[in-house]
């Protein structure tokens, strides 16, 4: 067996140095200023009163008790709330995560909708006053989810456009001698970053500075400017540190404008920190899905037909689409393919991006079905993947720029000890514990988006890199530092990096795992322009002083714009407006799929192996160990990369066994809206996790040869666990999360 990688792995081929994080000392001493940490002089505090029903109208609203409280400045309701402009949803070219405008009328559209906002001179008073607001609702029966009366099915135009097809699925399916036809479901999940969602707004004349956690400062600032009718040049978002995002802080929510306008109205800074509970209704979440997977194979295991059909819940207001079936059908060679997606519109807030939005639910379906097929064929599941591995798209025929899936399988299988597995279910045990081993494929597309960057190099050999990209824990500061240092021939410690501020040159959304590829390429380009000033080759750090003197300058500043192949300068113009429209992000994936026709396939891959132990009597499920091997082109920093994979696999484990937001089927309300009852993984849940970095060289994806990794490792884990549970118990659980009760029946 291979040794598990230590927290600081040795760099292998095509990997950079495993230096500590740029901001490490700051983070262990409590120095970084997250959004709600900004010291503000004499702020007012806002607190929302949120709805107790999911659908209806406000019959009466009595705010007198709240208003009478000493210290209360103002209570905003639908009667006096400042107007805001309707701005489109992010997926239709706008900025919003949810287009329902709270306090615009007396209607309640989902659980936890805002019905009032109290602003007071202390947090305690604002919260107390909000609780004294008396609301009576004329409630109507809401549609909660799939199958609820009143839920409306819809096939959005985009789903039809994106539908992927190859050959003739019906014909292939009817001829296939071995078949799996199974239905899977994945639950609602909330991001629950440990940093709460917060907004502080400070006006200085007609200039607004605001502080809120954002994975895309240009988008958030531009969107807010449009909503409140202010020149975007006068709106400044400061957010150098994000306390975890996972997609939840990517897109502007409706709370921001309310806070900004209250601050203008009252002439004082206003600070809002959403209560943990309120985040469930006032931000986005991972939509629940229901899927049908049909896999047909010949007797040797070769796929001959694959159809993946998905149903996803969304709000009445917006057609957010998870859309992962376009990705699953690219996984394996297969001549006959069909996909479909149907939305189910219910009385809910709008769902949105959550770590590997399409892949997490849909790869659970595919990779579970692959395991079922392996069982039907009486074949080793790794061999089934090998037989169907492909180096090109089964849809368009376009080649992958690189794809090391089977290298990942082989390395992970060896480290895990897979060859010692007895394939028969219920065949392995220790004492009262049934043991199961399972595996699955991880994948994530290499998304890229335009970016700019500015670098200033001074004669003393120090550089400052500026790009409005974001570090929410991925290691983006460190990656930018290393990329600049390498191209400039400097010790990374001489490089200062500034990010997370809409006054800096724009960078990409911290989504779609594209920060390093996109912002990194812009930084690399800017550094190249500096090198060009010295004739292309950077002088050694000790010779810089002389070299600057020869040029007759004391500093050199270069600004660069970079866009991915196939895009143009209009992508940078879109970026300045905070639009993802230039291509990229989860949207971009779908556009890419659409383009098809020989466009190269770009994705990172991995293979994950898990051991589960299930108690013979209680059916308690433990995961003592997981092994993952991942290949993603050039790895800028093996230390931070390993941490991303580690955290990703633990996310995947939690999504398989723990995480589900329970939706009350009658009332369409979130039942477990806190992090004691919404179970995220805790330290005691986490076993030995081995991460293997598989070297891979890709010279085609981008100048740096990097692929996105932040959303790779949590894909596939859930299926690996479900497959291991089957191996341990002989029971196939197709509905996540896998809990004791499902194994007891």
């Amino acid at each position: 067996m291979l040794q598990p990688t230590p927290p600081v792995p040795q760099p292998l081929e095509n990997m950079g140095q495993a230096i500590p994080r740029y901001e490490a000392t700051a983070k262990v001493t409590g120095q970084p200023l997250y959004a709600a940490d900004e010291p503000i002089a004499r702020p007012l505090y806002a607190f929302f009163k949120t709805s107790g029903v999911a659908r209806g109208t406000i019959a009466s609203l009595d705010v007198r008790k709240a208003e009478a409280m000493p210290g209360v400045m103002k209570v905003y309701t639908h009667r006096n709330a400042p107007p805001r402009k309707a701005v489109k949803h992010i997926m239709t070219g706008g900025y919003m995560s949810d287009t329902n405008i709270p306090l615009a009328d007396n209607r309640v559209r989902h659980d936890g909708d805002i019905v009032a906002m109290v602003v007071a001179d202390s947090y305690e008073i604002a919260r107390d006053a909000a609780n004294r607001i008396e609301v009576r609702y004329a409630a109507q029966a809401p549609a909660a989810t799939f199958g609820s009366p009143g839920a409306v099915k819809k096939v959005p135009e985009q789903a039809q456009k994106n539908a992927k097809k190859a050959g003739d699925f019906a014909a292939g399916w009817s001829r296939a001698p071995v078949k799996v036809d199974a239905r899977y479901s994945t639950p609602t999940q909330h991001h629950n970053p440990i940093e709460l969602y917060a907004t502080t707004a400070v006006w200085n004349g007609d200039q607004l500075t605001f502080y809120e956690p954002s994975q895309f400062v240009y988008s958030t600032a531009n969107g807010l400017a449009e909503q409140i009718g202010v020149d975007p040049a006068k709106v400044h978002l400061v957010n150098p540190y994000v306390g975890g995002g996972f997609g939840g802080k990517g897109i502007l929510t409706q709370r921001t404008a309310l806070v900004a306008l209250a601050a203008r109205d009252l002439g004082r800074p206003v600070k809002l920190v959403l209560h943990r509970k309120q985040a469930y209704g006032l931000t986005t979440y991972r939509a629940e899905t229901r899927q049908r997977v049909r896999l047909g194979a010949d007797r040797n295991g070769k796929l001959v037909a694959f159809a993946h059909d998905g149903e996803e819940v969304t709000s009445r207001a917006d057609d957010y689409m998870v859309g992962g079936v376009e990705n699953t059908v690219e996984m394996y060679a297969c001549p006959n393919i069909a996909t479909s997606v149907t939305l189910v519109k219910a009385d809910r807030n709008t769902p949105g991006f959550m770590r590997s939005p399409p892949e997490t639910p849909y790869m659970f379906g595919l990779e579970s079905a692959m395991d079922e097929l392996a069982v039907a064929l009486n074949m080793d599941p790794v061999e089934l993947r090998r037989i169907n591995d492909t180096q090109k798209s089964p849809i368009s025929g376009a080649p992958y720029t690189s794809r090391s899936l089977m290298q990942c399988y082989d390395q992970a299988a060896a480290a895990f000890g897979w060859s010692r597995r007895n394939p028969r279910p219920l065949s392995m045990s220790q004492g009262d514990w049934l043991i199961g081993w399972g595996c699955a494929t991880a994948t994530y597309p290499t998304n890229m988006m335009a970016s700019t960057a500015r670098i200033r190099l001074t004669a003393d050999g120090k550089a400052v890199v500026e790009v409005a990209a974001h570090d929410m824990g991925q290691g983006a500061y460190t990656a930018m530092q290393q990329i600049a240092a390498k191209r400039l021939g400097l010790d990374p410690r001489q490089v200062t990096v500034r990010m997370g501020d809409s006054a800096l040159p724009p960078g990409p959304v911290a989504g779609g795992s594209m920060t390093t590829a996109s912002a990194g390429s812009a930084v690399h380009t800017a550094a190249g322009k500096i090198a060009a000033r010295f004739g292309g080759a950077m002088p050694a750090p000790n010779d810089l002083d002389d070299a600057f003197r020869r040029l007759g300058v004391t500093q050199i500043e270069e600004y660069a714009e970079w866009w991915p192949p196939g895009q143009g300068p209009q992508a940078v113009r879109a970026l300045y407006k905070g639009s993802m429209g230039g291509g990229g992000g989860e949207e971009g994936e779908q556009q890419e799929g659409n383009a098809g026709g020989g466009k190269p396939m770009m994705a990172a891959f991995g293979a994950e192996f898990v051991e589960v132990r299930i108690h013979r009597l209680t059916r308690e499920i433990r995961v003592p160990r997981m092994t993952g091997a991942f290949a993603a082109g050039h790895i800028v920093n093996p230390r931070t990369a390993r941490s991303q994979y580690l955290g990703g696999m633990i996310w995947g484990m939690a999504s398989a066994l723990l995480e589900a937001t329970e939706v009350d089927a009658k009332r369409a309300r979130y039942v477990n809206d806190n992090i004691a009852e919404y179970l995220v993984a805790v330290n005691a849940d986490v076993p030995q996790v081995d991460v293997i970095l598989v070297p891979e060289v890709d010279t085609k994806v981008n100048p740096l040869g990097v692929k996105g990794i932040g959303e790779l490792a949590n894909v596939g884990t859930a299926a690996a666990i479900a497959n291991a549970v089957y191996h341990a118990t002989g029971k196939r659980i197709r509905d996540l999360p896998i809990t004791m009760d499902k194994l007891l029946v």
Binding site: T25, V28, R64
Partner: protein, 198 residues
């Protein structure tokens, strides 16, 4: 908005008046302020000893130690992740023991030693636990980190860091959504021997 009826409450509903009255109340002793305005916050002078320094505050008695640190003393290293005792991000030391500052009223901390993440490094030198967190990449976004480190130091001092299993169990009150858990265990293992020697 409805026009408030003319009553004591209605008059108080006009916000500028309210702002003044809140301040006026704050200057009085709590005993005097409370009966005059039933819904008015009771305020109290609280002296907190934080990281070795005494700080005097005039606080709403409901103010948690967490909000006193963050909003009144601008010691924002201690984090709010739930405000209801579920995440551990707000962990500080009170007389050397780890407590959740969101579940501790500021007034309860009077006369006791409060140590926060800002007070852990001494004389410009990182605490061995802080160094171990760096060495083992025991964080990603860093938001849970102050709480993890304060908890980890206490975990070792309590004698609850003898095995990996024990560390995992006694660190399970500190959630890390980035899931740096295995690295946190590695960091505690590194620091515990150095702390013993220190």
């Amino acid at each position: 908005m409805e026009t408030p009826k003319i009553s004591r409450r209605g008059l108080l509903g006009a916000s500028p008046v309210v702002a003044v009255s809140a301040k006026a109340a704050s200057a009085q002793t709590p005993e005097a302020a409370a009966p005059a305005l039933p819904d008015a916050p009771v305020r109290r002078r609280v002296v907190l000893k934080v990281n070795g320094e005494s700080r005097e505050l005039d606080l709403d008695t409901r103010t948690t130690l967490l909000d006193a640190l963050r909003e009144h003393l601008h010691l924002a290293g201690t984090k709010k992740g739930c405000d209801q005792g579920q995440c551990g991000a707000c962990t500080v030391h009170l007389d050397g023991e780890r407590v959740l500052s969101c579940l501790t009223l500021a007034a309860q901390a009077e006369g006791r030693e409060v140590v926060t993440i800002e007070g852990l490094a001494r004389g410009g030198k990182l605490h061995p636990m802080q160094q171990a967190f760096i060495d083992n990449d025991a964080f990603q976004c860093g938001y849970c980190t102050p709480g993890q480190i304060m908890s980890a130091v206490a975990c070792v001092q309590e004698g609850h860091a003898r095995t990996d299993h024990e560390i995992r169990e006694y660190m399970s009150g500190n959630l890390c959504r980035c899931a740096a858990y295995p690295n946190i265990v590695a960091a505690i293992n590194q620091a515990k021997s150095q702390m013993g020697r220190a």
